[in-house]
């Protein structure tokens, strides 16, 4: 006979669903927002409107993905936006130096990925190996990376070669390039979700000490999380560069906190161990949809910031509360 004669709470359908797909509440919010956008400004949900939205927020989506991988492990990266700026100026300067040819673009992107990776590894070393507190340490590295970006390009403005941004803004077979980027991204994320690293990051985020005692290489895993974050921050920089066609040493600075907000909106736990990248992408979209909706409903300009701030706060709270209720 066993002690298990007490009925243990049996997870209901909704609970199971949200447990498996923590981004569902966010998805509902996003769909509602999209519908509202369409209601107030039909053109905003036209093909061109959606394409514009995607172009604008693809960078934030990338950065939210970047942030998710460190949040998985219970870490945070406040330098993500600074990495975006640094990679942006590095690739623009490289393309310019190499003459703006197709080769220069490829070379610059390679170097950009390398820079993002290097920044990520530096963060990883500082936080995981040197064991500094992530919030303050990555704030410090963000200042350092910003300094580097200013060194590479003291003044915003160097243009990116047309070949680069015309590709990003252009179409292939009548389909805007960004949708190819999104499709490729989906594949990459699908693949990444199946890696050992993803599971290990989540296990570390659940309880780092327990993971270590179980024999997981905790430090290495966290460094890898930051490295992945750096890589995706570089991809975010590519998108920004595609959309802005130029270098700007400060371009990513403000994106950092939004990337954190997007991760939370997407249903991931900042304490680690729980979440999805898909959710973070939806979270980034929610931020974009809120910003445009506030305009489309005709909010007076001086109230726009406040209404956006309130709406994001409410969405953050709603996401957390709904997610928790569904899981409880």
């Amino acid at each position: 006979m066993t002690a298990a004669s007490l009925p243990s709470s049996k997870p209901g359908g909704l609970k199971r669903l949200v447990e498996r797909h923590p981004f569902l509440p966010a998805l509902v919010i996003a769909i509602v927002l999209l519908a509202l956008n369409g209601l107030y400004q039909p053109r905003s949900v036209s093909f061109a409107g959606i394409t514009g939205l995607t172009k604008t927020y693809l960078a934030l989506m990338m950065l939210a993905i970047a942030q998710t991988y460190v949040v998985y492990a219970g870490d945070i990266d406040l330098s993500a936006g600074a990495i975006v700026s640094l990679v942006n100026v590095v690739i623009v300067v490289t393309m310019e130096k190499l003459g703006g040819s197709g080769f220069s673009v490829v070379a610059a992107l390679g170097i950009g990925l390398f820079v993002g990776l290097a920044c990520g590894i530096i963060n990883g070393i500082v936080v995981a190996a040197l064991r500094l507190q992530a919030i303050v340490a990555t704030f410090a590295t963000s200042i350092f990376f910003t300094g580097l970006a200013l060194y590479v390009m003291p003044v915003a403005g160097t243009p990116a070669p047309a070949a680069f941004w015309r590709t990003y803004g252009g179409r292939f077979f009548e389909i805007p390039f960004v949708y190819f980027a999104v499709a490729l991204l989906a594949i990459v994320l699908y693949v990444l979700a199946r890696t050992r690293l993803a599971t290990q990051l989540l296990a570390v985020g659940d309880d780092a000490q327990a993971a270590y005692q179980s024999g997981l290489p905790v430090t290495k895993t966290r460094v890898q999380g930051y490295a992945l974050c750096g890589l995706f921050a570089a991809l975010a920089a590519f998108c920004i560069t595609g959309d802005t066609a130029s270098g700007d040493p400060l371009v990513g600075g403000k994106m950092t906190l939004f990337s954190v907000a997007a991760v939370v909106l997407g249903g991931s736990a900042l304490s680690g161990g729980f979440g999805t990248v898909v959710g973070s992408i939806i979270g980034a979209l929610i931020i974009g949809l809120i910003n445009s909706l506030v305009f489309f409903v005709g909010t007076p300009s001086e109230w726009q910031n406040l209404v956006q701030g309130l709406a994001i706060l409410v969405a953050l709270m709603a996401g957390i509360l709904v997610g928790r209720r569904a899981r409880a």
Binding site: A4, P7, S8, R194, R196, T199, D206, Q213, G215
Partner: protein
């Protein structure tokens, strides 16, 4: 040739010498028991072997070859697996993932099929006893404490390590689960594996052990063949020159506590994990809660105290009816609740002993200022009553061993006497002498007129101390044992009766 030899292992945490000289020799094909009072260094010795604690000195030989263990990973490579006393699970991961966490099958990608089938092997071992809701896909966070402990056991088994350590693996398990586990240990033993097993339960030690090594104050004091020794001798080794106190040595309780007016009455009480519970506690009475663990005893106590929600019931304390709301209100009313899970419910880590012993006093006396000298006067008697050993009230509670920490936590309830003391398995993980101190005090408090409810997962404690025992099963009281009925036989029978 011995499978494992540990010699002269030492470890200090700042000023605390956790381990002075740990020696341990384990053969292939034996279950080797480690025993010692709380804080004697058992876990430390095991963690050194498992790589999660860096020793200050000592040597380790496996198969007669010296090995250097640089971390959990290298310990695994040297053939060591471990069940951690405090568990090492990832709450949001599934049972299967947790079982395979130490080395996930696959390369860059996880081999899901291999993972499932490996996990299933170990899950199957406990099929009959793992309880409802337990499956490979279950998220560990949603499991009960005993089920989590089973996962940790499976995880340790899945290492298939030649030397496997089990550091108090049975503390949350029920008898059936323990039996199943022991069967598995016997199989492993037969397969030539070496098992290191830690428990505070003497019966388990004699049921499964081949040899026993006793650790006292961080020092190995001897190893005996189980067959050649007896509990008395083991206890003598554990306590060394100090007083010898065995569980049964305490005076039996008064046959019938004078049935004065009840100080606490509970009727038709419902809540999560229990239903329609009713009982009375008289002034000066020690009412025992018995039965298998997790049958609602703890839930009832926590609900009375307001720590978990309840839905409906009539509760009367010292004549006035109340509805539990939160611990704060309960404390004001004169209730006290001691949890066995001191690290979760009790100890305020990293803070001075004074701050750990005063919070109830602050609340009951409505204090705003904390004047150390005045507080010290109030606090000292309570600490002395429990024979608490400490260097000074200003020292961090972390400077104490687990048992002494628990005494501090208990003492906080005694500065201002409560009317009713709710004890929720208060001796879990506490060594024998600390238990003896505690029960002597409890009986004294009862004699002074306090009403006491005692839930204990150890039958001996209940039988020796409770005036009356309510046996729980399936979230309800199934039987009341009074007077001469309080026998081990009756207790087991009531506990195992189908609900």
């Amino acid at each position: 040739m011995s499978k494992l030899i540990m010699r002269g292992v030492s470890k200090a945490y700042g000023a605390t010498l956790a381990l002075r000289r740990g020696d341990l020799t384990v053969e292939a094909g034996e279950v080797h028991v480690l025993i010692g009072s709380n804080g004697s260094g058992k876990s430390t010795l095991c963690k050194v072997l498992a790589g999660s604690v860096r020793p200050d000195g000592g040597e380790i030989l496996i198969d007669n070859k010296p090995v250097t263990i640089t971390g959990p990973h290298s310990a695994r490579a040297s053939g060591i697996g471990i069940f951690y006393q405090e568990l090492s699970l990832a709450g949001h991961r599934t049972v299967a993932e947790n079982i395979c966490l130490p080395d996930m099958p696959g390369g860059i990608f996880v081999d899901r099929a291999a993972l499932e089938s490996r996990a299933q092997r170990y899950i199957a071992l406990f099929d009959t006893v793992s309880g409802e809701g337990f499956s490979a896909e279950a998220v560990v966070e949603n499991l009960r404490a005993d089920q989590r402990q089973l996962v940790e056991i499976m995880k340790a088994l899945a290492t298939e390590a030649p030397i496997t350590i089990f550091d108090e693996p049975t503390s949350a398990l029920d008898r059936a689960q323990v039996d199943r586990f022991f069967d598995i240990l016997r199989d492993l033993k037969a397969a030539g594996r070496s098992i290191i097993f830690i428990s505070h339960r003497m019966d388990e030690i004699f049921a499964i052990g081949d040899r026993v090594t006793v650790i006292r104050d961080g020092e190995t004091v001897g190893t005996k063949n189980i067959a050649d020794t007896n509990p008395g001798e083991v206890i003598r080794l554990m306590v060394g020159g100090q007083d010898e106190l065995a569980p049964g040595a305490s005076a039996p309780p008064a046959e019938a506590a004078d049935r004065k007016a009840p100080v606490l009455t509970v009727s038709r009480f419902f809540g999560k994990g229990f239903a329609n519970v009713g009982f009375e506690v008289a002034k000066g009475e020690i009412l025992g809660f018995g039965g298998l663990h997790g049958q609602g005893q703890s839930a009832v106590l926590r609900a009375i105290f307001g720590a978990t929600p309840s839905n409906g019931g009539t509760l009367t304390l010292a004549g006035s009816t109340f509805t539990p709301s939160d611990p704060r209100a309960a404390i004001r009313r004169g209730l006290a609740y001691v949890s066995g899970d001191r690290s979760r419910d009790g100890v305020i880590q990293g803070r001075p002993i004074l701050e750990n012993v005063t919070p109830i006093h602050y609340l009951r006396q409505k204090l705003f200022l904390a004047r150390p000298s005045a507080l010290a006067e109030r606090v000292k008697p309570a600490l002395e009553a429990l024979h608490t050993k400490f260097a000074g009230l200003g020292y961090s509670i972390n400077s104490l061993s687990g048992g002494n920490q628990q005494k501090i936590v208990i003492a906080r309830w005694l500065i201002d006497r409560p009317d009713v003391l709710l004890l929720d398995d208060p001796t879990k993980g506490i060594d024998l002498s600390a238990k003896a101190d505690l029960f002597a005090l409890i009986r004294q408090l009862a004699a002074e007129g306090m009403g006491i409810v005692l839930y204990s997962s150890e039958d001996a404690e209940l039988l020796n101390n409770a005036d009356r025992i309510l046996v729980f099963n399936g979230g309800a009281v199934r039987r009341e044992l009074t007077g001469a009925e309080r026998t081990r036989y009756n207790l087991y029978q009531a506990a195992y009766e189908a609900a």
